[in-house]
């Protein structure tokens, strides 16, 4: 594992700043299939964001529009030139609702990710830096919540926040907050583990000797070195946000059709259509969910593979060898998941042994063989 954690890393100082940005840098060092996956992911994500932003221009009708030129669209109209993807049972235009739905999904992702980062990173930083009983309690709490099926938490959050009957912001916030609850432990664990490691480094100690206060050490020295793993978790977080929003909608806790477009709600209504062979109400919103989740997951997956020297595609290995230190999004392993990398995130959902308050790190292979 890369242990190079000096603030500057190993990239030459003269590299332009934009080339050192997380995703840009990985894009430049990737080859072959990995580059293909990363590019595909970035393209899908870009299409999704653009659709969300440009929804008013792209969508032929409003999300709750039932009539044009004084004439009703009609229920379950087959795809035609007026309605490229037909209409739903309630008489909404499917294509328009899919396009507007991107907006709702984007809101959810942005709010969910920002909330979890802010809270998770802050807690991880404080917990890892100060240690003590607070640290132990937080670790146990984080693991308990981590083990819980996120959809169930989301359902509870939806009831609490909106009473199950959602306005747009009610639905978005319910999902975003439940995503936050589920993801805080992940950010917490990653940041905390990094902080525990970084705070023992010489440069932190020297800062302390010079007389820097806790706040300054935490923000200037520790934090900046502890957040390099985050891009990876953000992508997982975003994917989970899309899927949870869809799941809530599918269970009937979606956003009311008059308030916003919601893919999950549309699928909820389409369930009955499928039985009678009507495909155009189910497939478009479903494909939209899959493509969005796929986009962010592909980006995350590629970042993870590029971070792990053993998984990186081997051709041209010599060329990138000098840059391993900085390509390692995951120094010390994602969530200390070891070679499992991003899969380790799945692997860690329970209360794995390493979080036992009394535990101590495995001291290395020599003890075991």
């Amino acid at each position: 594992m890369a242990t190079d954690t000096t603030p500057t890393g190993t990239l030459p100082e003269h590299a332009p700043r934009w080339k050192r940005l997380p995703v840009v840098h990985q894009l430049r060092t990737s080859v072959g299939l990995q580059r293909g996956m990363l590019v595909a992911g970035l393209v899908l994500t870009a299409v999704f964001v653009l659709t969300a932003v440009l929804a008013p221009l792209l969508a032929p009708y409003g999300w709750a529009q039932l009539r044009a030129d004084g004439e009703l669209f009609g229920s379950h109209v087959e795809p035609s030139s007026d309605h490229l993807l037909g209409t739903t049972v309630a008489g909404y235009d499917v294509l328009s609702r899919v396009i507007w739905g991107a907006r709702t999904a984007l809101y959810t992702i942005v709010i969910g990710v920002i909330l979890s980062i802010v809270i998770g990173v802050t807690l991880g930083l404080l917990s890892g830096y100060f240690g003590g009983w607070l640290d132990r309690v937080l670790v146990v709490v984080a693991d308990a919540i981590y083990a819980f099926p996120s959809l169930l938490l989301a359902i509870l959050a939806a009831i609490v926040i909106s009473g199950g009957q959602s306005s747009m912001w009610g639905g978005v916030m319910a999902t975003a907050i439940s995503i936050t609850v589920v993801f805080i432990p992940q950010y917490f664990r990653v940041v905390r583990a990094e902080v525990v490691r970084v705070k023992g480094e010489a440069f932190v100690e020297s800062a302390r000797v010079v007389g820097a206060g806790h706040v300054r050490i935490m923000t200037r020295h520790v934090l900046r070195n502890a957040v390099r793993t985050l891009p990876l978790i953000v992508t997982l977080n975003a994917c989970e946000a899309v899927l949870t929003l869809a799941g809530l909608g599918f269970l009937g806790f979606g956003i009311e059709p008059t308030a916003a477009g919601d893919w999950g709600y549309d699928l909820h209504k389409a369930l009955a259509d499928v039985t009678s062979g009507i495909w155009w109400t189910a497939i478009p919103p479903g494909v939209a969910i899959v493509l969005t989740a796929l986009g962010v997951t592909l980006v995350g997956e590629s970042l993870n593979d590029l971070a792990d020297p053993r998984l990186r595609t081997r051709r041209r290995a010599a060329l990138v060898a000098g840059e391993v230190g900085t390509t390692s999004v995951v120094p010390g392993g994602v969530l200390a998941a070891g070679p499992e990398g991003v899969d380790g995130l799945d692997a860690l959902e329970g209360a794995p042994p390493e979080i036992l308050p009394e535990s101590e790190p495995v001291s290395g292979p020599e003890e075991d063989r």
Binding site: M37, A147, V160, I283, E301, P339, D346, A347, G350, P353
Partner: protein, 365 residues
């Protein structure tokens, strides 16, 4: 660093404890199991408390369920009877006490103990989860191994992309697609439910009463009933199983590649052990250890997935029932079921950690 299982989250408070070779007196497996066992209790307490706080912050469940249907006086009387007008802390302690006695409350809408609901519908969910795990094993593990063996070639690329697609597809959308193609368009398989009415009557009359339909069907001794039950299970099992299969595939692939790069595999390679044998004998078994952990974690995921799958296919299990209670605004039932599921998840994780520790000595500390 070739530790395959998790390491160095750095929870250890004292760095000095990492000195190699140092063993605490009385350490080892027994101590690990004890600590791990004791950890169940705070975990359950935290989860159950979270559920309680969240549900109670919406107000009392009686108003939620019956508000509007009763006069305010009747409502107040019902609230008083059920004790929801007492101080919150007292309600909380009562609730915890009930859980200790195995009492998770009584549903408002049909007045049944939550534990009974769980016993009635739990078997259906268990059956579905087992089928799904079976699909995941049969599909995910061999393909993961194949992807690792053909690393960076076309097969590997295809498999990896499929795994990501499986991960990104919501289980209910997968279910709807399967339903559309195989039930509606092709007409090969039934649309929904666990068995056709005829088969259910047969099972009630002649079969056993385990609630696991496959067993009940076999006990009728009627081949048609068994086929009917299996036909109903195919689509839900595939929909739920493919998601997990994607997770298994990625995990097996990564782990096999990881263990192929370890020192002892390198040593075997330098002794002239053929590549196939390296994969089959040397790299394979250690790569499987993390799967044990993941299977346990999949239980949590399967439970969430089951809620969605059961709704898609009208599979009358816990998830289906939970949604019915949600729609009826029966929050006592919801709170009880979610709390009970939390307990199940905590216990499963304990069992999984114990198995992992027994299999892999490196997990113990």
């Amino acid at each position: 660093m070739t530790t395959i299982t998790t390491d160095e989250t750095g929870t250890a408070p004292a760095p000095s404890a990492t000195t190699p070779g140092r063993r605490r007196p009385g350490g080892g497996l027994g101590r690990y199991l004890l600590v791990r066992f004791l950890l169940i209790f705070p975990t359950i307490l935290i989860l159950v408390t979270t559920v309680f706080v969240m549900m109670r912050s919406t107000g009392d469940p009686i108003t939620a369920a019956l508000g509007g249907r009763l006069t305010p006086e009747q409502l107040a009387e019902r609230i008083h009877e059920a004790g929801y007008d007492r101080p919150l802390i007292q309600q909380y302690l009562d609730y915890l006490g009930g859980i200790l006695r195995g009492d998770f409350g009584t549903t408002i809408s049909d007045n049944r103990p939550v534990t009974e609901v769980l016993l009635t519908y739990g078997t259906a969910t268990l059956e579905l989860a087992m089928y799904a795990l079976l699909v995941a094993f049969v599909v995910g593990i061999p393909l993961g191994r194949l992807a690792a063996a053909r690393r960076d070639r076309g097969v590997d690329a295809t498999l990896r992309v499929s795994a990501v697609v499986a991960y990104a597809t919501p289980v209910f959308f997968a279910g709807m697609l399967l339903k559309l193609v195989f039930s509606v368009w092709l007409g090969w398989l039934p649309v929904a439910g666990r068995a056709s009415t005829g088969a259910e009557i047969q099972m009630q009359r002649k079969g056993s009463d385990t609630g696991i339909y496959l067993i009940d069907a076999i006990s009728t001794g009627d081949g048609d009933v068994v086929v009917d039950v299996l036909q109903h299970a195919v689509l839900p099992a595939v929909a739920l199983g493919l998601l997990t299969a994607g997770v298994f595939l990625r995990l097996v692939r990564t782990n096999v590649i990881g263990s192929l790069a370890t020192g002892y595999v390198e040593a075997a390679r330098s002794r002239g052990v053929p590549e196939r044998r390296l994969l089959r004998k040397h790299a394979w078994r250690p790569a499987l250890v993390p799967i044990i952990t993941v299977i346990g974690l999949q239980i949590a995921m399967l439970l969430a997935g089951a809620v969605l799958t059961e709704t898609t296919f009208e599979w009358k299990g816990l998830g289906f029932q939970l949604v019915q209670y949600l729609l009826a605004r029966d929050y006592v039932a919801v709170q009880g079921m979610v709390a009970l599921l939390a307990v199940i998840v905590a216990l499963t994780n304990f069992v999984v950690d114990v198995i992992a520790a027994l299999v892999d000595p490196r997990v113990r500390f």
